[in-house]
Structure formats: C-alpha cells, structure tokens
Subunit: 387 residues, 2 copies
C-alpha cells in the first residue's frame, strides 16, 4: 500500500424526506445564498418548492441562478460569479446533479479570485479560498456532492477541464433517493456508467500492489451498481435500488477507493472530456464508448488486471488471462448496451474521420494532466477500438 | 436502506515515515498539549522520541501523561483532567492504541465539563464541548482514531461504559503501519478479533433490509482482515499486511459500514465489557469468547443471516440454512483459535459459577444502552454457550 492522506469532511444527510433540512444547514454558513440549478426540472418535480420553503423557514435569503446545462460551460459560470459578487451572497447552494454542483463549486472559487476563474482549470493558479458550497442532489453519479473536484467546459476552445481543491468540497449534501424516481432511463444508465468508470479507472491505473481491500471495495461496489441499475431499468421507483445506487455513487469517487493505491490516472475520462467538449454528448454516454476501447487497448499491458476484473465481475472462467480479459471487456460492453448506453462512436454519430480532431483535443488535456504516454497516436488507437 | 447522517471529518495521514508530521498538525490547534500514552512501550520503540522531536520542531509545548492501561480506568482519566486543567493545555495528543485514545478523548471532554466526567458515560449528561484530540496510532483495532466513541472502566463498580460525541472525534490521526511490526502475536490476534467483531455486530444486528452494499463491504473487509492476520502471524513485519489491517480497522468502525442499516446493536460488546471490567482481560480476547457464543444463541432467530455469513466468508456449502450457519460459527471459532485468541471462558480461567455475576454486570449495561430483550436469563444462556 502507498502512503496517503484522507480527509473528507462533507456532512451527508441521506434518505427520504430530508430535503427540508437544507435551510437550517445553509443558515450555519450565512443568510444569503446563490441558488444554482439547471434547466428547470426542479421547478416541475416540486424540489424547488421544497428547497425554497426550507430556506424561508430558516430565514435565508436566496438569489436564483438557473440555466446550468449538462457539461456546464465557463461563460455561464462567469455570469454566476458576477451575480454572486453583486448580490454579496454568503454561500452557494447547488440543487441538481454533477453539472450543477460543479458549476456551483466553480462559482464558489471564482468569487474569491482576483483573476479569471479559468486560470484554476489550466492549473495556472491555485485555489486559495471559496464560498461554502452546499448541495441537494437530484442526479447521482459524479460524487461531486462529496468530493473536491469540478469540471467545466470552455466553449470557444472546446476544453473540458477540471479543478481539485479542498476549498470547494461541499460542507453539506442532502441526498433523497426518491428524487431519482423521475430520472429518465437514459440518464439512469449514464449515471451507472459514470460511477463504474470512476471506480475502474483507479482499479486499472494505479501505482500500488497488494491492495486487496481497495480491489474488493471496487468489486463490491461494481456488483451493487450493476444489480441496482438492472432493477432500476425495470422499476424506476424502487427505493432500495435507487438508494443503493445513490450511496454507491458517492463511494465511487470520494477518495475512499483510491486511498493507498498511489498515483491514479483516468485516461478514459481524459478522452471522454473531448467527446463531451466537441459534441456535447452526455458524459456517461461518452464513457461507455471510451472505457471499453481503452480496456481493449490495454489488453497487452494490463492483462492480469483485466482478467481479474473479468473473473470477479462477470465470473468469466477458462484458461489464459488474455482471452479471459477479452471476454470481460465484451461482457462490460454488452451490459452497457443492455441498459441503453452506447459503446461505439457510430452509435452517437461521430464519424471515423473525426478521430484526429478528438485525439488533438484529448492530447492537449493529457499535457495539462501530465499523462505521459498518451500521445496523439495512442489516443487515435484507443478511439479506433470504439468505431 | 434506512435514512442516515454520515459525517467523519478526521484527517488521516497514513504510511511509513509520517509520524514526524504530528507537530505541525498539533500546532494548528494550539501551542501546548497533554501527551497521553500507555505503559511505556513508546519509550522503548522510539516513537516517543519521534513525537517529541516533531512537537519541539513545531514549537509545541507538551505535558507528559503516561500510564494508561488496557481497559483504561476512570480514576486515571480524572487525574488527566486535573493535569490538563492545571497546565491549561490547548489540545490532547494520544500516542497509543484504542485504550490510550479513549482515555485522551475522555479527558478532552472532561476538561470542559463542570461535573464528574463519569456522568457522560451513564448518559446523565451530554457532551457539549471538548479540547481538540489528535492521535498517533500504535495499536490498530478500535478505530477510535477515526470515530466519536470512547470506552472507560469505573474500577470500584466494575462498569465498562462508553460515550459517543462528535466533540471528541480526533481532528487528525497519523497511522504508520511499521509501528505495528513490534506488536505481539497475542495483541495482533486480539486486534483482528476486535475489528471483526465491530463489523459483524452490525452485520447481524440491524434494522434494515436490502443493503447489499453494506453487506459486501463487511464481507470484503472480513476477508481482508483474516488474510492479513494470517500473513502477520507468519511475518510480523510484512508491511502490506500490517497496512491492510490498519486501514481495515478504521473502516470497521468509523460509521461507513453502518450508514443506512438503521439501528445497530452490539450485544457481544455489551457482554464482553463485563468480562474486561471484572477480570481485566484483553477486549479482543473477550470478544472471541462472547461473539461465537452470541451467534450460537442467535441460531434460531438469525438463521439466514448467519448462513449468509458462513457461505460468504467460509464458503460453507450444503443444504439447510441452520447447519450451514452452525458450520460458519464453528469455522469462526477455529480461526480465532488458530491465531491464538480464546473461544471459551475456561481458556481464560473464568469458572462456570461466575456466570451469574457476569450476567448481572452485563444486564446493568443493557439497561444503560436500552437493549431490550437482553435479560439476565438471556445473557446467562449466551455465556453458557462459551463454557
């Protein structure tokens, strides 16, 4: 096991009927919040009303800032920063999924900066402070509600980049699984893919050995995510399946799985960021295309690990690690398809001739993230496995 | 899954060579600490010197408070409170295992109280504040380094009771697995038993259903603890085995396993507290006697759960849940014996005629903990399974 520091102070309030607690939690951090949300679904499903009633009851003023889209964009974050400054809010309350939470986190850091918030994403400047962020989660996948990361896309240059800082880690997150009952089958599937990709990237790309606990945690979570998603596809309002999924999503990317496994790389995320940035496809959809393609590319270098995955998750039996690993990748693709998530570029109408452009974009991010070995040629090879 | 709140803000600094970081961490909370430790082993193995050098480097004064024994006692805690007040320390630094950390936590709460610290343990008074606690862990079992509990024994009345409060949760804990290299085989075994008992009590005694993730986490951890301990018994200085054990111990009782499973009871701990209180035997040794005895008592009421345990952990096969469950209990006892932990009262020289006295003592705690159903007769029955 490798040395590590683990610190995750977010308070999680989990379960049905918990959203009305948000006002009291926000009031611990101030009396006026920027209320960040998306394209209006929370207005229709009653969550907005619940949140507003709770804020009012706790004597907290709020300023509406709707309009965060999937793959949140820099220009919108910048507007949020301007509004937060103008209104002199004490805290940011995100009501939404990963995109909304990531926008809120970016705003919280940007408000305190004397430079363009994008400088954080290119790692030109470090985050040195942020307004407190609280969340009410409506889509469960990114674990952004219990981690210190945020991803934003700069539209003009098609750059989907990220920041990581303890300052933007949410203070409190409320998760009510019943909120997920109305999540579409597509986004339920994409959420599962995202959670799985978070876990598997670390499982395949780390610098430790002999970390059986971390391996078993990933395998346990993966089994739970898959069986919960299978239930959700049949019964979208199955409380326990939604709850198991919601809690698993947090485990998938809140630091517990990667503590002790050393330096973790996320190459499938890196390449997927280009798909989302250029084509604005859902992150989970992009990941179900790129992850198996990356696994196929890694067959020769990570044979044993891929075989372990195949044996543990899909009970693949037989002789020879390479054929077992190959079967595992095939099983994963089949499962992604079975829940309705695409596994080829063709399925999302990205033509082969675009591969150079995507590789160019992903290579730029590989330079920012210092991912040695991910040359344009390598990225092209990976993408060709997804044709 | 049941509703829950999860919040665990302890910063964990894990790995070899990390102890010298303690001074800087302590200095975030003040300039003078009470240094709580045990019977002097840290003076022999060099840990004391490392800690002192780090405190001095960070400009932190310290007041020595040694002498915490296994099963820490109230009278010693009271002396610590007096000393902390007299010396006007800003924080408490525990360097030791669960006993030392629990004593330090109790002192931290007692310093701020205007009444006897024991009132916290009888739940007559709530903890409303405490000095910051930091820890350097030298025995890994209790998870006290990352939770909000503490156990102390009142010697005159043989009461081994506990407090739970977020105020006493450590701010920072440093865990260096190499420190465990010199831990005796006996205490390495008792540590494993304690970690396993923490996990299994919640696994067997909760009010939720359909929590497959929590089940799998327990099963994953149990497998890891058993295989790590088997390695440790052969190679006490196997770094990865010690590290896996050290990190598993934290998972075992830091709230992650019980989040979502509702109301958890720990009857084996309740009864073991009486064994430790009356006979001063090691907590782990007491648990390896009581836990299988409790499982045997529960054979009829928790048959399916015990069978799941037997199948998952010991790969017991066959027909009929009851015989499978029985085999699982037998396997657990065999494994406890194989690592050198006792499984009968006789093995620790407690005679059958003492059962009434132990039941009397444990029943008193069952009243404090509000464990309905644990009458003296029931406790006697459980203890008779351990003859």
């Amino acid at each position: 096991m490798q040395n590590f520091v683990f610190e995750n102070p977010t308070k999680i309030i989990f379960g049905k009927g918990q959203i009305p607690k948000i006002g009291k939690e926000v009031s611990r951090f101030g009396h006026k919040v920027l209320l960040v949300y998306g394209m209006g679904s929370i207005l229709k499903n009653g969550i907005y009303d619940q949140v507003i009633a709770s804020l009012k009851k706790a004597g907290v003023d709020f300023v509406d800032f709707p309009g965060v889209k999937s793959n949140p964009v820099l220009s919108h974050v910048q507007k949020g920063i301007d509004l937060a400054r103008k209104e002199n809010v004490d805290a940011i309350l995100a009501v939404g999924g990963g995109s909304v939470i990531d926008a809120a986190k970016s705003i919280s850091a940007g408000v305190r900066a004397d430079h363009d918030v994008w400088d954080f994403f290119t790692f030109s400047k470090p985050v040195t402070g942020a307004l407190p962020v609280l969340t009410v989660v409506t889509v469960s996948a990114s674990a952004s509600e219990m981690n210190s990361g945020a991803v934003v896309t700069k539209e003009d240059s098609c750059q989907k980049y990220c920041i990581v800082s303890p300052f933007i880690q949410p203070k409190v997150s409320i998760l009510d699984p019943t909120v997920l009952f109305s999540l579409s089958p597509e986004y339920s599937a994409y959420s599962a893919v995202d959670v799985i990709a978070h876990m598997l990237e670390g499982y395949f790309n780390n610098t430790a050995s002999k970390t059986p606990l971390q391996d078993r945690l990933v395998e346990s979570l993966m089994r739970t995510v898959m069986e919960s998603t299978d239930i959700i596809m049949e019964e979208p309002d199955n409380y326990n399946a939604r709850a198991n999924m919601m809690w698993s999503a947090i485990f998938g990317f809140n630091g517990l799985l990667t503590a002790g496994i050393g330096n973790v790389k996320m190459p499938a995320h890196m390449i997927e960021h280009s798909l989302s940035a250029i084509y604005d496809i859902a992150h989970g959809a992009g990941l179900s295309i790129v992850l198996p393609a990356w696994m196929t590319w890694a067959l020769d270098t990570k044979t044993e690990r891929l075989a372990q995955f195949a044996r543990e998750i899909f009970h693949v039996k037989g002789r020879g690690s390479r054929p077992i690993a190959q079967k595992g990748i095939a099983c994963l693709k089949l499962w992604f398809e079975s829940i309705g998530s695409p596994v080829t570029l063709k399925a999302v109408k990205i033509p082969e001739r675009d591969i150079d452009k995507i590789a160019e974009n992903a290579f730029a991010l590989s330079q920012v993230w210092c991912y040695e070995g991910y040359t344009k040629e390598v990225i092209r090879k990976i993408l060709k496995n997804a044709l």
